[in-house]
Structures are given as C-alpha cells and as structure tokens.
Amino acid sequence: MTEALNTLIDIFSLSFMVRAFVTGALISLCAALLGVNLVLKRYSMIGDGLSHVGFGALAAAAAMNAAPLKVAIPVVIITAILLLRLSESGVIKGDSAIAVVSSCALAFGVLVVSLTSTGVNLNSYMFGSIYAVSEDEMILSIVLTVSVVLLYAVFYNKMFAVTFDENFARATGMHAEVYNMISACLTAVTVVLGMRLVGSLLISSLIVFPPLIAIRLCSTYRKTVIVSAVSGVMCVSAGIIISFLIDAPASACIVLTSLAVYAAACIIKKLKGQVCRHRNG
C-alpha cells in the first residue's frame, strides 16, 4: 500500500507528469462530453476526420516554419464547420463527406512531409507525446474545458433537445444551428489538443469510448453525460499511470484501458440483465 503511494508521489513530483496528467484529464473530459452528442447523432467518425485534417495542417505548419497550433486550430475549426454545413444541406451524407476530407488531408500531410523533409517529429503527432505537453497547451486546455463545461451546464436542456431530435428542435423555434456550430468549434479545438496527447491516429477513441461506455450503462441522458465524463477522465488517468509504470506509449495504454472498461461495462450490463430476469421469474 505504502509502496503504491510512494510510486504515485514519485510520479507527481515530476513536472512533466503533472502537465501530462492535468492536460490529459481536461482534454478527455471535453472529448467525453462532446462525444456523447457526436456518438448519439452518429457523427462518431468526425473526430477521426478532423484529426487527419489537423495532421495535414501541422505538416504544412512545419514546412512553413509556423507555430503548429496557430495553423492547425483555425484550419480544423473551418473544416468542422464546413463538414457540418455539408451534412446539414444533405449534399453528401455526413460519414462519406468525413471519409473524403480525412483521407485527402492525410494524403496532403504525407506529401508535404516527404517533399519538405523538415526536421520536425511528425511521428509525435501521429501517435502523441503526452509527456512533451507544453505550458501553452495546458493553458489552452484549461480554457477549452471551461468553455465545454459551461456549454453543457448552461445549455444542457437545449443540447439535449438538439441531440435527441434536431428537426423537432428547429420546428419548435430553437436555433439548432447555433448549438451545432458551437459544438463543432469546440470539437475541433479538442481534437487538435487531443492529437498532442494520443496522436491523430487514436484521438477518436477519446471521443467514442466514454460515450459508448455510458450509453451501455445508463438509462437517462443526464446519467449518460455524467458517466461519460467520469469514465473518460478515469480511463485517461489510468492509462497514463500504467504507461509510466510499464514504460510503454501512453496513447496505446489509454486506448486499451478504455477498451477494457468498455468490455467491463458490457459484462456488467449482461449480468444486470440476468439478475433482473431471475428476479422476475
């Protein structure tokens, strides 16, 4: 017991570990909250698509010697808004639009990297480098978290109405497009920051796993949102600790921890169902 405690104290005495932890917890909270609505509206792939666009933007930024976040965040926000517009107007179905945009952006990024041969380590953007999180990124993630939590706390009822049935929300005089736009922008920022954490290849797991776990277990929307947020933060924290202990890449540990929790949720659900059936005879 004391040994475990000592290890934890060791971990938190390292400043890069503290930054990794704080940023990881905050970003996973945002991703888990925004993810609930994305998963329920069947836009799960948007995180994946946006992260590939983010990769392309970072490659371009490296080639131009520009600050990576200053390029990537606006580009990804614009993409998110365009994808939203595109699927709202029904020109292309949402998921195929995402697939087209994401593969093109990835191809563009790869091309830029191979043609310019900058010394920048894009590998870290592919698979994340949570221990190299900078002060700026930590501050940005705090600002982001405050915005996302405010969105859910203040506009909770509207977010529910828009997610459950957007047509109804519009038809009864709600400005669904405003809420969609705000969540698209926040999702874009979350994805760009999340790429630093787990990399562009794995960011969608932060968005998709916690809501899936919550949807399995919960019967009301309120519980779903809360459980998703809690499980998101827990999976990322556990993943980081495990990765530190066994000296493995954090991104892989986070994703596999999430998978384990999801599997546990499925089993719990099954067992619960059996208990109920037993009780009802």
Partner: protein, 240 residues
C-alpha cells in the same frame, strides 16, 4: 386563421412533388392530410415547419402564430429508438422551444409536462428509459412531447403507424380530445381514411394532378375522391 398556403410548390432539386397547393387552417380546425405513399405529405409538413423551403408560392403564419407554439410529431424513422433518455427528459424537451432564451425549465414547465404525461397515460413510465419502451409507448412519448410544445397548433405525421388497432384508436382519441377540449388546431397525416373522416373537420387530399381541399362533407361527395373511402383507398384507375 392560423396558416395560409397560397399556390405552394414543393420540389427536390428539379423533381416537383406538389404544385399549386392552396389551403388555410383556422384555429380549432382538424385537418387530415391523406394521399398515397410518396405524394408529398411529409414534405408538406416539413415545409409548414420551415424545415424545407418552398419553391413557389407562400406559406404564411397568421394571427401572430409563432414557431414555438407549434408541436410536431415526426414520422417514425427509428433513428432515436436506442437513445438513452428517460421519458420525462424527452417530454420536457417539448418545452425548450417555448422557453426562448430561458435556460432552465421553470416550475410551470415541469407541471405542464406532468399534465401532458398524465393525459397520455405515460406518467407511470416517467422514469423509464425510452429505448426500453414498446413502439406504441414510444409514440405516446413523442406525442406527449408534441403536446407540450403545441400551444395552438399540432402537426402529426402518421402518429399511429405501427400501432395495433386498439392502441391507434386510443391515440386518435387523445388527439381529437386535444383538438376539442383545448382548441388546439391539428394537422395530421394519416393513411386511415375512415378514421380521418370521423374526426377531421377538413381534408386535404394530395394527388399527382389534382389535390382536394375542403371540409369533410364536400370530400365525401367529391366524385374524384369518394371511392377512396368506400374502396379503402384503392387506385383511381381500377375503380372507375
């Protein structure tokens, strides 16, 4: 008068669905929209709600009718069948449009939602999860939500599809009760022509070339349409 449609034309890209459609809805009216599959009933409802732009003519709200005074029950599409939400949460969401920029439900909103649930007999289900309900119960929930939102006008798109006879009878009963007791105007899409003729005050029959609009007495006498009633909606060519 609540709604006035003049010479409305509805189209997808270049494919015209409805054209030259004119009708009015007064407060207290019960308008049934009938017509075969693909005749544009859902499209018309979406246009009335402002979810689809008209390609010609005009749809106007009269008498100070506001968007948030309209309740809407969409045609079942199965998209939300697995949504994790409680019955109470869904019914309450009918109030969000009305509360404008208000962010939280007021006490009055909550009481109103309870009344709607009681009226539709789903109050005992209020804490159950929507996805664990039967199809008919889910439809009642959506109707309760629409009723919450409906200050003056209720739009229903095949509310009883997929229900057994008893359940649809009950649902139609609830709708016409709302119409008579609370004076809410109803526009309902249905395939059940006989039922439509029993409850409705007006009929709108959409058909490729000729649409009919009038009160139900004149509909029953209309030679073009009357055989739909007697022959249970068979196709025109065969009946002549």
């Amino acid at each position: 008068m609540l709604i006035e449609c003049r010479d409305v034309c509805l189209a997808y890209e270049n494919h015209i669905v409805v054209k030259g459609l004119s009708f009015t809805v007064d407060s207290g009216d019960y308008l049934c929209v009938i017509g075969e599959n693909g005749s544009g009933k859902t499209t018309l409802m979406r246009a009335l709600l402002g979810l689809k732009d008209v390609s010609g003519g005009s749809i106007e709200f009269r008498d100070g009718l506001k968007m948030h005074e309209i309740g809407y029950m969409p045609q079942q599409n199965g998209a939300q069948r697995n949504f994790p939400a409680s019955v109470r949460e869904i019914v309450l969401s009918g109030m969000t449009g009305r509360s404008g920029f208000g962010l939280f439900y007021s006490k009055h909103d909550k009481e109103e939602a309870v009344k709607c649930m009681e009226r539709l007999g789903i109050y005992p289900l209020r804490d159950r999860s929507y996805r664990e309900l039967s199809g008919g119960q889910q439809q009642r929930v959506l109707l309760a939500r629409a009723a919450c939102a409906a200050g003056r006008l209720l739009l229903l798109d095949e509310p009883a599809s997929g229900l057994d006879e008893l359940a649809s009878e009950e649902l139609y009963g609830l709708i016409s009760e709302m119409n008579r007791k609370q004076g809410v105007a109803v526009i309902m899409v249905t395939h059940d022509v006989n039922r439509a003729l029993r409850d409705a005050t007006h009929i709108l029959h959409l058909h490729k070339d000729e649409t009919f609009f009038g009160d139900k007495e004149s509909y029953a006498q209309c030679s073009v349409c009357s055989h739909h009633v007697h022959a249970g909606g068979c196709r025109e060519e065969k009946c002549d």
